[in-house]
Structures are given as structure tokens and as C-alpha cells.
């Protein structure tokens, strides 16, 4: 194999990255609009490295950074996405080109730009990550599953949200003291994540008080996963002392024609217990959450204690 160059991915590399993605994952593709959204439009920036040879991408390692609070302090954390190597670039003796690409990525960004990397890697990426890249296991991912409901709404009024403003950050800051680590859900992040994605805006819901201030918000999106038509509860941002707001939002999310409403919420959060009291069942998923920390006294086990990483933080439906 020709010698390769390891370097950051630049805007003009988008087509080559998308071509390599299609080569690496048979039957799947990453279109240019989705690539630009993920890597050029993220308000927190771009993190992507690739191994290039003769104009082609051989391997790719990337993450989507986000502003976060970690131990109550501002930090950057990043969701690892799109880690792959072309079939012909896999295996062989010595360190693989994929591992070299990942190491170059972490050498460039780990600790300097980002305090922590996390994700839900597929099996092969998990193996390589645990064996060679310092990944630790945070948890096996469970899902809360609620049947759809046509029942009339009770409790606070839920309204659609067409945009996010400074009130999103106010709301996040009310919720944040409970979180050991969480992506900051401000207007910039929420807007980019849920309103500007090429597949179209997600269904954003809110509850306001009499003064018009947000008391809670939820975000849903329809997706087909493993052949099932599901409504995904990507966000549920509600202070713990407002259960009636959360219940109203969840109820509104359940008013769907999908087979079920699915949420990923940390098992130690009060909402994990509350959704069960509202009828949710806990199901296993094939996913495991992994993390690599560049912060002292923060590791995967610590992260599992009080984090706030939900389905909205994952890339499970980013590209669907």
C-alpha cells in the first residue's frame, strides 16, 4: 500500500470522505449536505483526521465537539463519529492505518481541545477502541419504551417550538447542577442539532410559564430502527422539581403514529425512574457507551455516576 499522509480533514476533502465512507460501509452513504452539516456547520467546530493516499481517504477518525459542563466547569467534549477504514486498508502487520489515524487525532486534540470523547461505537470500533485507543466502558445502553397514546392531554400546555433563544440556556442552567457532565443545551447547539439538519427539523416541544419563560423542552424525531417505526425522544430537558412539565412533554411526544416512543436516559437520573412510573419499560439495546477522558479523575466509570448523555447526544439517528 502506498505511503499515506495523516492530516486534519479540510472543507475541500468532503467528497473524498463521503466516498470512503461508502466504501467502508457497504449499503450506506454519507451525502454531502449531511457531511457539511456535521463538519462545517457545527458551532463548536470541526475535529476530523484522515489518512490520505493518492487522493483517497484510507481511514478516518472524527468527533463532533460541543460546549459542555464537566464537574461544573466549562469544557469541550466530543462525540466520536465516522471512525472507519476502507476494506483494503484494514488488517495487515503492525499498527493499522485506522489506529494510526485515531492516535493522530487524539494527539492533536485530546486534552488540548477536548476534555473527553464519548460515543456508542459499533462492535469493531469498540474492540479497537478498547484494545488500542484507551476507550473505557461507561454503560450498556438501555432504552425506555413507551407505547403511543391517543389520550387527551392533561397538565401544562405543550406548544411547538420553531426556534430556540436564550431561554434554552436558562433552562439548561436550571437543570445543570444535577449533572456531572453534560453538553450545554443552548440555542446555538439546539438549533444546529435539531433545526438545521439536512433531513429536516425535528419536532421540538416546549412548556412555558405565564410569563412565557420555558419551563421544559423536548425534542422528538421519527426514525426506523431495526425495521421498527419509532418516535425517538431525543431531548427531555426539565428541572427535576417540575415533573408535571415532563409528563406533559412525554405525553405530547407519545401522540404519534409510530409503534413506540423510545428514550435513552441515564439510569441514575430521576427521569429514568419517572418514565417507568408513567408506563415505560426498560429494554436492552445492542449499544454500549464508551468514553476516553483526557481529564484527571474523570474516567468512564466516573462518567456513569451522574452524566446527562441522552439519545440526542448520540449519532444513532443523525444520518437516518
Amino acid at each position: 500500500m502506498a505511503p499515506c499522509e495523516l492530516r486534519p480533514v479540510e472543507p475541500e476533502d468532503g467528497a473524498a470522505v463521503c466516498e470512503a465512507f461508502a466504501a467502508a460501509f457497504e449499503g450506506r452513504r454519507r451525502d454531502a449536505a449531511a457531511w457539511r452539516w456535521a463538519y462545517l456547520a457545527n458551532p463548536a467546530g470541526r475535529r476530523a483526521w484522515a489518512a490520505f493516499a493518492e487522493g483517497r481517504v484510507l481511514a478516518h477518525f472524527a468527533a463532533m465537539p460541543a460546549r459542555a459542563l464537566l464537574r461544573g466547569r466549562p469544557a469541550s467534549v466530543a462525540l466520536v463519529v465516522d471512525s472507519f477504514a476502507r476494506p483494503e486498508a484494514r488488517g495487515g502487520g503492525g499498527e493499522s492505518v485506522f489506529a494510526r489515524t485515531a492516535r493522530a487525532f487524539f494527539d492533536a486534540h485530546g486534552g488540548r481541545d477536548d476534555a473527553l470523547y464519548f460515543g456508542w461505537p459499533v462492535e469493531q470500533a469498540w474492540r479497537v477502541g478498547v484494545r488500542s485507543l484507551g476507550y473505557g466502558a461507561v454503560r450498556t445502553q438501555s432504552a425506555l419504551v413507551l407505547p403511543p397514546s391517543a389520550a387527551s392531554a392533561t397538565g401544562p400546555e405543550v406548544e411547538p417550538l420553531a426556534a430556540f433563544d436564550e431561554q434554552a440556556l436558562w433552562l439548561f442552567e436550571r437543570c445543570a447542577p444535577r449533572f456531572s457532565c453534560a453538553v450545554v443545551r443552548d440555542a446555538d447547539w439546539l438549533s444546529w442539532r435539531y433545526l438545521t439538519h439536512p433531513r429536516g427539523p425535528a419536532r421540538c416541544l416546549g412548556v412555558r410559564d405565564d410569563a412565557g419563560v420555558l419551563r421544559g423542552l423536548a425534542v422528538c424525531a421519527r426514525a426506523t430502527l431495526e425495521g421498527r417505526d419509532l418516535e425517538l425522544l431525543l431531548e427531555l430537558l426539565v428541572p427535576e422539581d417540575e415533573p408535571e412539565v415532563a409528563r406533559a412533554l412525554v405525553h405530547a411526544a407519545r401522540r404519534t403514529c409510530a409503534e413506540a416512543l423510545v428514550a435513552w436516559l441515564p439510569e441514575r437520573s430521576n427521569w429514568f425512574a419517572r418514565l417507568q412510573s408513567w408506563g415505560a419499560r426498560v429494554h436492552p439495546t445492542p449499544w454500549r457507551m464508551a468514553a476516553r477522558s483526557f481529564t484527571p479523575r474523570v474516567d468512564a466509570a466516573w462518567l456513569a455516576l451522574d452524566d446527562w448523555f441522552t439519545l440526542g447526544d448520540s449519532d444513532l439517528v443523525l444520518w437516518a
Partner: protein, 343 residues
């Protein structure tokens, strides 16, 4: 030798070997010193309990000790053996437990006593063949989890969730309303359990053998332990069984469903859970159960009104069989409280 080792400066004189007759008192004294700061109650383990777990276990046990220059135990890596059934094959496995290092010998480096003992254990007891374990699993404490993951080949299997329910809130068949099922408390396990296990094992993945011999050792012969057992029979045919104990789990005093095995159809699980709930109600305690989150029982117990909560435990494993990957155990390793040393 029951007195503590004064220093780890003699690291070079560390001797690693399997347990030998006569080691028990010194081992137990060292174990108590190591665990007393963490859990005074656990550190009260008696020699009788130790002998039950490590000498009387019908599936054996594996113990590797580290001794200082004067023959004092300073570290242990151990496993309580269990025969497992997997895809129709019986193989030897076990729970890694009771691993410790004397506080004076603690250190995280490669040459630390704990790591050296763990590596020696793997060399002596890991693998195929007589006296060896094809795989080990465990619920390590956080410090042991970190060291084991970094140095001893621990692989992450899954986070451990459990189920909790208030007896009065559970949706269960009323007493006497279990159709053809007859639920009775039993004091002994008999040959019908052997056949029942053989039938159930096929659908359970990797499950420790639950025959009469094993169940008798586990639930009838343990010193100073009190377990209540019940069977559900349909026209005399064993359809399921369960074992309960009062105890503490995940920071909660509860009536624990220590073990349960029931047929898929016929309502045996519901009938046995109803029995368990009645006992819990009489105890004035919540009911707690631990079954794999990938099992049908996990959903069935939720349908009965139990809710899922996390535990502080992480299930890890190490396999010495290439075809049995730790990732495979995620969905296949059948573990209940009865398989552990937690109750």
C-alpha cells in the same frame, strides 16, 4: 502467619503459588485486614464460611496467593468455581471474587502485588483442561475494575441493573389463583431439578448448572445463611423454582429473589413472584430481583410492576477460549444474585 506484613520493600521476595493446606488462617486474617476499612461487616467472614465457599464447593475453587519473604499472605486472586452449560457443552468457569492486596503492599504498577498475583492466577488457572476455567466473570470493586481492565484482561460485559417492587403494588395472581400450578415451599432439591435444568439451559445462553447437587450446596449447606425455597409444579411436574433471602443489596434492605428459574409458558414465574411478594409483604420489605436485562424474565417482571434501577456493579469477564468472546457474553451470560457472593 496471621500478623501483617510490615512493608512492601521486600517486593522482590514475593512468592506466588496456589493455596496449600494450612494457609487458611493466615489467608483469612489478611483478607480481613484488606476488607475491614471498606466493609466491616464483610470482614467478619468466618473460617466455616470460607471452607464452605472454597473447600466444599462441588465445582471447586481456584486460589492463588502472594506471600512475602516470611510466608505471610499479602495478596490473593481467587475464583469460586461453577460448571456452566453453554450451547449444550459443560465447561468449567467461575466467579472471580475475594481478590485483595494487603494495604501495605498496594501499588498500581505492573510489578505491584495485585497485578502479579492476578497474572499468576491466569497462568495457573485460565484456559482449557483439568483444573482450569474457560472463562471467569466478576463484579469487581471500582479500584479492582480499573486495575483489572488495564492489566488483567478484564472485558466489559454489561452494566448491572436490578428490579425493585413494593409487594402491594405488584400486579400478580392472587394466592390460589395460579391455575394448574401448585406453589409450595420446599426444604430440599431433588433429581427433578436436574432434568428441569437440562430443559431450561438450552434457552439460557451461558448458565451455571443448577442441579440438585449445586443447589443443595448453595442454598442448604451454607453456614449461618437462611434461604427460603419454593417450587411451582403443574400436575406434579416441576415448572419453576425460586429462592429468597432477606438481605441488603444496592443500599437497600429487601427480600431478595436470590435465584429463579421458570418455564416460559404456564405462569410459573408469576406464581413464584407472587409467593416471593407475599414473603416480602410479611417481612415489610420491598422485593428485589436480579436477572439479565436481555432475558424474558427482565421484561416479565416489569410487566408485573417491578421497576428497573441501576446498581453500583459492573459485570466483567475474561475468556480463554477464542470462540467465546466477552462481547458474546453481553446477551448470553445468565447471572442472578445466587451466582454471586453478594448474598
Amino acid at each position: 502467619m496471621t500478623t501483617p506484613s510490615p512493608t512492601r520493600d521486600q517486593r522482590g521476595t514475593l512468592r506466588l503459588r496456589p493455596l496449600e493446606r494450612g494457609d487458611e488462617e493466615g489467608l483469612l486474617a489478611a483478607w480481613r485486614r484488606a476488607f475491614a476499612p471498606l466493609d466491616p461487616a464483610a470482614a467478619e467472614r468466618s473460617l466455616a464460611d470460607w471452607r464452605w465457599r472454597f473447600e466444599a464447593n462441588p465445582d471447586g475453587a481456584q486460589v492463588l496467593l502472594a506471600l512475602d519473604g516470611e510466608g505471610r499472605v499479602v495478596a490473593q486472586f481467587a475464583a469460586s468455581g461453577a460448571a456452566f452449560e453453554l450451547d449444550g457443552e459443560r465447561l468449567r468457569a467461575g466467579q472471580a471474587l475475594d481478590s485483595f492486596v494487603d494495604p501495605a503492599w498496594r501499588g498500581l504498577g505492573r510489578s505491584g502485588a495485585f497485578v502479579r498475583t492476578g497474572l499468576a492466577f491466569a497462568e495457573h488457572f485460565g484456559g482449557e483442561g483439568l483444573g482450569r476455567s474457560v472463562f471467569l466473570w466478576g463484579l469487581p470493586a471500582p479500584a479492582a475494575l480499573r486495575i483489572g481492565s488495564a492489566r488483567l484482561g478484564y472485558g466489559f460485559v454489561r452494566s448491572v441493573l436490578h428490579l425493585v417492587g413494593e409487594p402491594v403494588a405488584l400486579r400478580l395472581p392472587a394466592s390460589g389463583a395460579c391455575g394448574a400450578l401448585d406453589v409450595r415451599e420446599v426444604a430440599a432439591f431433588d433429581g427433578s431439578h436436574d432434568a428441569f435444568f437440562a430443559g431450561e439451559a438450552r434457552s439460557r445462553g451461558a448458565i451455571a448448572v443448577r442441579d440438585a447437587r449445586r443447589l443443595t450446596w448453595r442454598y442448604r449447606e451454607r453456614p449461618d445463611a437462611h434461604y427460603a425455597g419454593a417450587e411451582a409444579r403443574a400436575h406434579g411436574r416441576l415448572a419453576g423454582w425460586a429462592v429468597l433471602a432477606r438481605g441488603r443489596f444496592a443500599e437497600r434492605e429487601a427480600t431478595l429473589v436470590v435465584d429463579v428459574l421458570a418455564e416460559r409458558e404456564g405462569g410459573a414465574l408469576a406464581a413464584l413472584t407472587a409467593w416471593a411478594a407475599e414473603r416480602a409483604r410479611a417481612d415489610g420489605l420491598p422485593l428485589v430481583a436480579l436477572v439479565p436485562d436481555t432475558s424474558r424474565e427482565f421484561l416479565a417482571l416489569q410487566d408485573m410492576g417491578m421497576r428497573v434501577e441501576p446498581t453500583p456493579y459492573t459485570l466483567v469477564a475474561r475468556s480463554w477460549r477464542r470462540a467465546l468472546d466477552v462481547s458474546d457474553l453481553r446477551a448470553r451470560l445468565w447471572i442472578t444474585l445466587g451466582d454471586t457472593d453478594l448474598c
